[in-house]
Amino acid sequence: MFDAKKIQKDFPQLTRKINGKRIVYLDSTATSLKPRPVIDKENEYYTQYTANVFRGIYTTSEEATAAYENARVLTASFIGAATPEEVVFTRNTSESINLAAYSYMLNSFQPGDRVVTTIMEHHSNFVPWQQLGRKRGIMVDIWGVTPDGLLDMAALEKLITPKTKLLAVTAASNVLGTITPITEIVRVVKRLNPHCLVLVDAAQAVPHMPVNVQEWDADFVVFSSHKMLGPTGIGVLWAKRELLEEMTPFNYGGDMISEVHVDRTVFKAPPHKFEAGTPHIAGVIGFGKAVEYLSALGMENIRAHERDLVSYAIKQFHAVAGLEFLGPKNPDIRGGVFACTLKNAHPHDIAQLLNETNVFIRAGNHCAMPLHEHFGVVSTARASFYVYTTREDIDAFIEGILRVQKTFS
């Protein structure tokens, strides 16, 4: 049985007391907490086999290389990639998207081509396309949402034209909580234009639900380690092998070359041609452990746990007058994130007052200004859940909200 209370014991930070009280961490959408096995694994590299990868002919360097590459194998199997070579390690989701944009789109897209992105994207899947559009004379079309925060599937038919080269879409919104139907979206896009690529921002999906990139049949899938119990500073770009072969690196340096002559350089095969310079070795190894930890919990179980928290939260939120949240009301298509507004209280003040009882939430526009503008709100107060979140945590949030109401009444 999935027992969040028991899982909490694996997370050192949740044993910390501030002002004598426990921490209620409701900001996992921004970054997740780290369990002891991940911290230990990262430490293992620093205490047992610190050495550079791919070059030492000695025991510890070979251990480090094996551990580094093993993380790639674990990641590939976790997301259902055809081969580990399709997994490129970057610094974060943003860098993964920029890698795709600079190494593929910047070279192959022509002026007059079109790119589609959605109004619910994180800035990291919005700004690169907007800027690429300016640089290359590419038109960026925006796919809108229904009042309920769902992508408008009927609108997609008109948006994908013969000139559309890319759809950049999130698999789960970091504000609305909406889980988008990626398999269906990819099918519709390929029917309308088989040459249109699909890049999926899975930063809020891979940590929270089973993901299989081959079932999705997308072309690029990107996500971050730090949102799925792993270290900060590690991201993943998955792409179909033939795309990675075609792409030219935009980051040149050590480790990514097989031959260098005065007048020419031969690059390594993917994924290594995209990993220039000494990588974040400890981070990647720690990330591999996070993948193992999540696999042991079971992604189906994690999704079921969060779905249960979502239905509980929706029920509890409805009981508070003046408390509203964006996004769908159906727990089947909603992840554990609630961006809320409260009558007469500013999100900054809500977050500050909740902090007084160690309830940690995020206030602001959550790197999604276009979406907030679309819904006509400047900012929201966001609570988000993960494997260690319990119903008591949601109760603590509600108690905090009631205190805020009292202060500002």
Partner: protein, 123 residues
Amino acid sequence: MDLYREQILDHYKHPRNFGHLEGAHVMSEEINVSCGDKIAIEIQLSDDKERIADIRFSGEGCAINQASASMLTEEVKGMTIPQVMKLDLPYIEKLLGTTLTPSRVKCALLPLEAIQKAVQSVR
């Protein structure tokens, strides 16, 4: 630290100098990038253009931001431009009667930054 003291809540709920100024000489707008809040300042100068004669602010913000704007606009009326330019964070904290954590400094400083930007444009 009691950030939400009676005085701050009073200024938040009943802001002074809120609104617009007919025939303002200078105006400016500042945005808080962390939350998207905006504040607009409108200022009328004295006849010799050396002092702030009247001032209004508008925009949406958190309690700290709005209380800071409300209190500050009361204080700067009659001040000379060099006096206004000398105001800083410790002054604002004294006005609010509290110290601020780094994440809230911007909220409290935004009105001052807008006022200083406005009067600077006079010179």
